[in-house]
Symmetry: C2
Subunit: 351 residues, 2 copies
């Protein structure tokens, strides 16, 4: 069996006999056993998972560990550039990366809706397998539940992740300092607009693909290059604007960003304009913001640009001291505008 990340695996589950998920597939008996064996274990095969114990047993980690979780409830399940499966791997890998950790192990908890096509499930599992290989992580423990028709929405996935922190930096909002450069690794808003286009059946001249990608390699490379990384945050729900607002609230700083410096692809900008959305608030799944000392900003951008996930890296602003936490943007016409946290929600179920 070729298990390369480039090739899809053929599914050992007898889809022709059981084309849809039944309640019995979550009932603890033969049906569930077969589903776990021929779907999940077949897709995610690795020595730890194959112990098939209630919990995975892992060697004593070599350092401090990072631990995170995220549930994925995206609609539609498949979208240009990805699907809920690779999203569930990359998202949790990225949460670990944002702590400066090397991602090692994932858990996966599936909540399946009765009637889900088994073929859909396999495509998701196969994507997760490829995403794990790409990110260098293993799914070592898992769980499956089935809910009745109309009590779920196809597939929900929770992944939790464990990584090791192999350096002494303290990366987080409290480490943000006066003068820090604010750097993003690429253009914003593609993931959110890929979902919206799919959901609203909009067709743009060029298809907008999600930016979903694992960011850990790039982050570890920054650390290997001795960049004094102060804070990292991936730009998911709520986009850049929400991430910066969350950080100023904890760090008690002011951030000034420059609209002209913020990369947004033209087709994404047009799509946003058409739908009345602001790309600063749109979700991404392969984009992050980094806070580093000003004199290390250029090197940070250089290191990022050497990675496929950082080719659009650029400096978008800087941090200054302030009496009140605030994000301010210098607009294209030179005016200053406060970038607030979004009040309600701009795009539901986008990640």
């Amino acid at each position: 069996m070729i298990k390369n990340q480039e090739f899809s695996l053929s599914c050992p589950f007898p889809i022709q006999n059981y084309p849809h998920v039944l309640l019995a597939h979550g009932g603890g008996g033969r049906f569930m056993h077969q589903l776990i064996e021929k779907m999940f274990l077949a897709g995610f095969e690795n020595p730890v998972l194959l112990q098939r114990h209630d919990a995975a047993i892992l060697n004593r980690p070599s350092a401090r560990i990072a631990f995170t979780t995220d549930s994925y409830v995206i609609s539609p399940l498949f979208f240009p550039g990805g699907n809920i499966g690779d999203l569930a791997v990359n998202g949790t890998v990225n949460d670990l990366a944002m702590a400066g950790a090397r991602p090692l192990y994932l858990s996966s908890g599936f909540i399946l809706e009765e009637g889900l096509a088994m073929d859909t499930l396999w495509r998701v599992i196969d994507s997760m397998r490829k995403a794990c290989q790409k990110a260098g992580v293993f799914i070592v423990t898992g769980d499956t539940k089935v809910v009745g028709k109309g009590k779920g929405d196809g597939i929900f996935i929770n992944t939790a992740g464990i990584g090791v922190i192999e350096h002494d930096l303290t990366i987080g909002p409290l480490a943000v300092r006066d003068g820090d450069a604010i750097i993003v690794n690429g253009d914003l808003g593609a993931h959110g607009m890929a979902i919206m286009a799919q959901r609203e059946s909009l067709s743009f001249e060029s298809a907008i693909e999600s930016d979903t990608a694992p960011l850990a390699d790039m982050v570890l490379d920054l650390i290997a290059h001795k960049i004094n990384v102060h804070c990292l945050r991936d730009l998911t729900r709520g986009g850049l604007a929400s991430a910066l607002n969350e950080i100023v609230m904890v760090s008690k700083t002011k951030m000034q960003i420059v609209e002209n410096a913020i990369p947004v692809r033209e087709d994404v900008a047009s799509a946003c304009e058409m739908l009345g959305l602001d790309p600063l608030y749109v979700a991404n799944e392969g984009r992050m913001v980094a806070f580093v000392p000003a004199d290390e900003a250029d090197q940070t951008v250089d290191v990022m640009r050497r990675h496929p996930q950082g080719q659009g890296a650029c400096i978008i602003g800087h941090v200054s001291l302030s009496d009140q936490p605030l994000v301010v943007m210098k607009s294209k016409i030179g005016a200053h505008r406060i970038i607030d946290m979004i009040s309600g929600e701009q795009l539901p179920r986008i990640c």
Copy 2:
């Protein structure tokens, strides 16, 4: 603020202003921020969680670690003896305990349905807080998603857990040996029948309460008493019958159990009979099976009985060598019956 496990906390979230979960509570903006701050952080408060980073940073563990995950989709959310919240804590604590690990940290991922009463959410959070205190674990990282009305079912919770393995035993199905005693820690089927009674609005003479409970203390005590524990399994979905069948398939052994020795409360037995269910297949949430060398069986029962969760501990059978994996029960009238894995599902969404 009194944070004792015996007392309920009052909720700092302004429930009177926002009595129900809105889609905006999952959107990444102000609403979500308030929900996280005044519900989740208020309920689960601890120093690691309050770092509020994408991932929790934990000290280097002292030993091998165990890692597990489980999603909870139970209906109804509240039932005699518990609710989805304490179940989500105890269930994952128990999965760690079954690996012989000391549970330390949990993650919690919530999938909320739009329209859920905030008061319901708080009651669940408060139960989780109490259950964590009782089990000695901390929720150190979390995530919240909101799905539209009719796309979920009130509350789904995923918990993942990390524990440390402070001994050298290899506990698992492959360690089961010829002659091992099979021991349960108490009467079977109460959890499943408590759910069924609630769901079907059945009223029995005495209310049947769920057996939901954390089992880690009792397991660690067995290990502290130098019992050579071979295998442990908690008896959740599919009950005792499914657990034994799963283990014989991996261990390639035969198990003989004695119906007269298997403890089932009279009211649970009557309720099962009334509904045409077999208590061997009914879910439990505070029951486990242990495999230990025959000459350590009595001491195992003694140690278990000193714990509130093990007062009904007893030996129910033994393991023997076999050409084919099989679970056989000597019935009350002396006949031998094969106890098979259940084919479909006996009780949906029971845990």
